[in-house]
């Protein structure tokens, strides 16, 4: 079987850092290929080159035997090479049909839009994905998974031959992921070649035919998924053995530091009570829409609860704003690092000191030397890969951005940490490092609470598990004895300990 798309000897560097070095990859029609690698391994760069967003410094791209020179995004699109990014890029106020035909709207005479044809075509392409929705409604009203289908439909409508999916399941629930996979298999039968970028090995082994592994911008290996074990891929990605996937659990539990009693906020969550202790890691599980982030943001002081009380170190902090909570050692690390976490245009140092300018200020003036010292110290503690502390954060890979976000919060010297999806969309190696950091903080007497949508992570990292369902706390389990099935029973609303 000859390759549909082949990239040979691709090299690319930015800011003096080699992002890709002599990378080869190829894919045939009807093949689903996993692209694996840690953050900063060069996956995104490679895909950006494939879609014409970036130009390689060296190397050739062959498509259907034809050599593509100076590929730009519209040429790539015209050949049917499309990418669906992790962050969707639709216009929320515009209709589904118009989003699908963005830039290629069918016309009647005199430049008027042929809405009828557009709707019919949109319905036709959505039917290939087994999605029956009103194509006249604004895209913003659809669920995230439906929006993703619209993005895929958009790619299909340009006669897609190569489809790249970047972390497509990172914001989907399990059942939504299943629907996505069914669709991918359908497209595979149509002969479309699919690159599937994911950190979830289970998914890769479930859906992919073949794999290519990158590490630090270098090609490590490729082959058929059927002929390899998950552990082998992990080993290829990190270049070392992961002797255990989660750090040891805590041995003793310290005193209670944060206690939340009966807090409610209209339309968000109801009657939530819990406490967290020093030297303990508490995992909060729930499906999308369970109200976990809303609850924790209220505890942090982004919003105030309608009723109930929050006590930090035995002091009533219910009415505190975020600044007061940060100063007293309570922090919340957002799940949305781009929108709520980082100042992407600003450099690493400026980001690290953002939540505690006080510690680098003398007589009202920011001391640049201190900023540089604090920046370097915490970026290094988090083992972040960077070329220059004064490079903008947006030039880092996703996992390294996440490390900068954590560095920013460790720099405020917190006592109680609430982390929202701290390892979403990042690779195995960085994930392991973040888990180890959290356990170390806990062992050193910090109280740690984290929200996660990944069951293995909830069971593996936590000492205790809280489960939320539709704005209510429904279960509390000891992580040593809990099982995935049990947690899921609570999360899906089939079991409820507190609200009968």
């Amino acid at each position: 079987m000859s390759a549909l798309l082949e990239m040979k000897g691709i090299s690319k560097s930015f800011y003096g850092t080699q992002a890709l070095k002599d990378v080869n990859i190829q894919i045939s029609s009807g093949e689903i290929q996993a692209v694996c690698g840690e953050n900063g391994a060069g996956k995104s760069t490679l895909m950006n080159i494939m879609t014409g967003i970036l130009q390689p410094d060296e190397g050739d791209i062959l498509f259907d035997g034809e050599k593509l020179v100076d590929l730009n995004p519209s040429q790539a699109q015209a050949r049917g090479i499309s990418i669906v990014h992790q962050e969707l890029s639709l216009c929320p106020e515009v209709s589904v049909a118009e989003n699908i035909f963005m830039g290629r709207v069918p016309e009647k005479k005199r430049g008027l839009v042929n809405f009828k044809e557009m709707r019919l075509e949109a319905e036709k392409v959505l039917a290939r994905l087994n999605l029956k929705i009103d194509v006249k409604q604004p895209v913003g009203r659809l669920s995230i998974s439906e929006q993703q289908m619209v993005e895929i439909a958009k790619a299909l409508s340009i006669n897609a031959r190569v489809l790249i999916l970047d972390e497509p399941t990172s914001s989907l629930t399990e059942s939504e992921s299943k629907i996505l996979f069914e669709n991918l298999l359908r497209l595979k039968k149509e002969g479309i070649a699919i690159f599937f970028i994911s950190h979830r090995l289970k998914e890769i082994f479930h859906i992919c035919d073949s794999y290519t592994v990158l590490r630090d911008g270098v090609y490590v290996g490729s082959g058929q998924v059927a002929e390899i074990e998950p552990d082998d891929i992990v080993r290829m990605m990190v270049g070392r053995e992961l002797d255990q996937s989660y750090p040891d659990k805590g041995t003793e539990i310290g005193k209670s530091v944060l206690s939340v009693a009966n807090i409610s906020r209209e339309d968000e969550f109801e009657n939530i009570s819990f406490q967290i202790n020093e030297k303990e890691i508490v995992g909060v599980f729930g499906l999308i829409g369970a109200g976990r982030s809303e609850t924790m943001q209220t505890v942090f002081g982004i919003n105030q609860p309608d009723s109930g009380t929050i006590k930090l170190f035995d002091k009533d902090v219910t009415a505190n704003n975020t600044r007061e909570n940060i100063d007293q050692g309570l922090i919340y690390i957002t799940e949305d690092r781009k929108a709520q976490g980082l100042f992407l245009e600003m450099d690493l140092n400026a980001n690290v000191v953002a939540a505690d300018l006080e510690q680098v200020t003398r007589n009202g003036m920011v001391d640049k030397k201190k900023v540089a010292a604090v920046g370097e110290k915490f970026v290094k503690i988090m083992n972040t890969k960077y070329a220059d502390l004064e490079q903008p954060v947006k030039s880092l890979s996703g996992g390294n951005q996440q490390k900068v976000l954590l560095a920013k919060w460790l720099a405020v010297d917190p006592r109680v940490l609430i982390l929202d999806e701290p390892t979403r969309g990042i690779d195995v190696g960085a994930k392991f490092e973040i888990h180890a950091t959290l356990r170390e903080l806990s062992n050193n007497g910090h109280a740690v609470m984290f929200i996660s949508s990944e069951l293995p992570e909830i069971l593996g990292l936590s000492d205790r598990i809280l489960i939320m369902h539709q704005g209510r706390l429904v279960g509390e389990l000891d992580a040593k004895t809990a099982t995935e099935e049990e947690v899921m029973m609570y999360a899906s609303g089939r079991k409820d300990d507190f609200n009968n």
């Binding site: 982004i302 704003n321 975020t322 600044r323 909570n325 940060i326 100063d327 919340y332 957002t334 929108a339 709520q340 976490g341 980082l342 100042f343 992407l344 245009e345 600003m346 400026a350 953002a354 939540a355 300018l357 006080e358 200020t361 009202g364 003036m365 920011v366 920013k408």
Partner: protein, 322 residues
């Protein structure tokens, strides 16, 4: 080793946008001194400096607003309002000029405070809020004067000295601008409170989640911007001795142009006071060149527009599109 240090120093200097802007200004001034006789005359330099000082003061305030991610279209009108109010309270009510000045400044600050409340509490867009305020303040200036300029005559030696005198041979309005630029540039680069403006402008949500009081930062910025516009109005009164309802017409555009040429980003998070100052100088030099070369004043606005476009395009090419 030494070489490496040198090259990184040069890289920093040329990466430093104010340096390249200063070079452009110097080159332009050299050209003018050759081709436009009279450019280097003391008279020309002094009038140009006085002419740009009011715009410069407003460009300083505009920079703060642009960095925080907003815009203030009302500065020219607030300048006129403050100018007219100070003049008229004195002329019609017969109060002491310093009390008039105080009243004017308090009301300018109040305008800034109102803008900030609309922007932070009601969440109106700064563009619409200040577009309305632009019309309201200008309207007030016309109402108070019934549309025509009112002379205030000679009032106080000190007041006249501030507007018309010189210190160390430099016209006082220019000197005031220079001091303001030095102080505000230092504060914007170093002070904790002013650094927060960059964080808020760069990513408002992230600033909120980092415990930075976003609203307080915006309130500070809009108040400072209006206060500086009001101050420019007072300075204008001190300079010309006439309460003029048309003062500062089009000043918002020149202030925005100066700030943007100097590196401020309309999407927030970027910009320096020094850059805005240099931007305003460039705008003033272009105007001055047109005058000296005998080009009709009607061409000025057109040329300023072209200069702004050119500066922004060059910046995009050099620093990468945003």
């Amino acid at each position: 080793m030494e070489n490496a240090q040198n090259s990184s120093f040069l890289k920093k200097l040329f990466g430093f946008r104010e340096a390249s802007l200063a070079l452009v200004i110097i080159a332009f001034a050299l050209l003018l001194s050759v081709f436009a006789p009279g450019f280097l005359s003391r008279y020309n330099i002094n009038t140009t400096l006085i002419g740009l000082s009011m715009d410069g003061i407003m460009a300083v305030g505009m920079t703060l607003v642009l960095v925080v991610g907003g815009i203030d279209l009302s500065v020219g009108s607030v300048m006129a309002f403050s100018n007219v109010l100070a003049g008229m309270t004195m002329v019609t009510l017969g109060v002491n000029i310093w009390i008039s000045v105080l009243v004017s400044m308090v009301l300018s600050i109040f305008i800034g405070f109102s803008i900030s409340q609309f922007v932070t509490k009601i969440k109106l867009s700064p563009f619409i809020t200040t577009l309305s305020m632009m019309s309201i303040a200008r309207g007030l200036a016309y109402i108070v004067t019934k549309g025509s300029p009112v002379s205030i005559g000679e009032i106080s030696d000190l007041f006249d000295f501030i507007g018309g005198g010189k210190t160390f041979g430099i016209p006082n309005p220019g000197l005031i601008l220079i001091i303001l630029v030095i102080v505000m540039d230092f504060l914007m680069r170093n002070s904790k409170i002013f650094r927060k403006i960059y964080y808020v402008g760069s990513n408002e949500e992230a600033a909120k989640f980092s415990g930075i009081n976003v609203n307080r930062t915006k309130i500070l910025v809009y108040i400072l911007c209006s206060a500086l516009a009001g101050f420019a109005g007072i300075l204008n009164l001190a300079r010309f001795g006439v309460a003029t309802p048309t003062a500062g017409t089009g000043a918002e555009l020149r202030a925005i142009a100066g700030a943007v040429i100097g590196g401020a980003s309309l999407t927030g998070g970027e910009g320096t006071v020094l850059g805005a100052f240099l931007g305003i100088i460039l705008v003033a030099l272009v105007n001055n060149a047109l005058v000296l070369l005998g080009v009709s004043v009607y061409w000025q606005q057109l040329v300023i527009g072209l200069v702004l476009l050119t500066a922004v395009i060059i910046d995009m090419k050099v620093h990468g599109a945003k």
